[in-house]
Amino acid sequence: MRHLMSPLDFTTEELDKLFDLANDIEKNPKKYAHICDDKIMATCFYEPSTRTRLSFESAMTRLGGRVIGFSDANSSSAAKGESVSDTIRVISCYADICAMRHPKEGAPMVASEKSLIPVINAGDGGHQHPTQTLTDLLTIRSMKGRLNNFTIGLCGDLKFGRTVHSLINALVRYEGIKFIFISPEELRVPDYITDMLKENNIPYEEVIRLEQVMPQLDLLYMTRVQKERFFNEEDYIRLKDFYILDTVKMELAKEDMLVLHPLPRVNEISVEVDNDPRAAYFAQAQYGVYVRMALILTLLELVD
């Protein structure tokens, strides 16, 4: 029995297989509509995350399965002080697979150690959010046709953004990737990541302004720059526009560059960019469902 705790749990070959399956689901949804007719997924969300939970629920429902669960710790036995280990032992009796989100880092791993059913980490604090990374990779692979040989710009809060860290760790396994980190000084990518890139001779650049690198990018991964992350308001006001993607900045980009964003967006991408064919963030949300469908089928061993 396998679980998914980190995007690196799967080899690149296994990911290729998973993404092929996701693409087949996209093309032939009817073929998969009843595979999970007799299966139940438990969504154990100890903190609210409507988007991720609905994506999992949509994925399971589209496979014909049913979903049970809770969407915040107060409505679960955790409020009575039950441990994650005990909860998963009980959930194992009720469901065939479990997606767990928890504010504490490592909680899904604790669950996986006691579970009788596959556990998917649906986000554990600031640690991992593997299905978001799988979503990002599937989107890139489906829309670009490859996961190697491109220059990716990662823009915004690169210090605290776990989706960014996860994506970098997942992409370094592919050849010919160049990273361009676009962020204010305060929110630069952590040293352990740049150290890892240096050790592996993977090219990267760090810049402050998005405009100056736009023409080089094959992919642009946007994240939100939150006001509260800045040391003072003055810096925030001075820098915030550097990290807002608008049609003027898009004019500098390649014709086939893709814009990705883990969503929710606040104001870091102007709504006018939504009409640009290069805006891939809503397609990304759709790929999130396909990749979760493929993951459920894979972990339940319902496909070859």
């Binding site: 994650v84 880092e105 490592g106 791993m109 554990d124 640690h127």
Partner: protein
């Protein structure tokens, strides 16, 4: 000159960094053993200038080499049998240590679920970096909280 009697069976931990012998005593939980112990602090050393030495008369199987290697893998472990050095053991960094140090990350699941073991794995042997198995937070010397 300080004289400490020979031990018949046990171990002599030599080349301990000066001042660290009590840490090792605690980590190895020697206080729980009913045996003769000599702690020699700040002994003269040609190699180190000053060093600590720990002599413990006990069954040799009682020594947890992984814990010792985690604390300092440069320590020389002399195994004593019948009053003489029978063996010198080389210490290698353990791949994993359990309940030796505690994860200090307040966001880690181990911070709220008391019964969970505190397990750290060797993430980077070159730089001797250990990370918590659950949250992957790096272990820092300053956050040491002995069990």
């Amino acid at each position: 000159m300080l004289n400490i009697g020979k031990i018949e069976e046990g171990f002599v931990l030599d080349h301990i960094k000066a001042g660290k012998s009590l840490d090792i005593y605690e980590h190895l939980q020697v206080d729980k053993w009913d045996c003769a112990v000599a702690i020699i602090k700040n002994a003269r050393s040609e190699k180190m200038g000053k060093k600590d030495i720990l002599k413990v008369e006990c069954d040799i199987d009682m020594l947890d080499l992984d814990v010792l290697a985690f604390i300092d893998h440069n320590i020389t472990v002399n195994v004593i049998r019948n009053g003489v050095i029978a063996e010198k053991k080389e210490l290698v960094l353990p791949k994993q240590i359990k309940n030796v140090i505690r994860c200090r990350n307040p966001r880690c699941i181990t911070s709220i679920e008391q019964e969970l073991p505190h397990i750290f794995f060797l993430a980077d042997a070159k730089n001797e970096v250990y990370r918590c198995k659950y949250c992957e937070e790096k272990y820092r010397e300053s956050s040491k909280n002995k069990k």
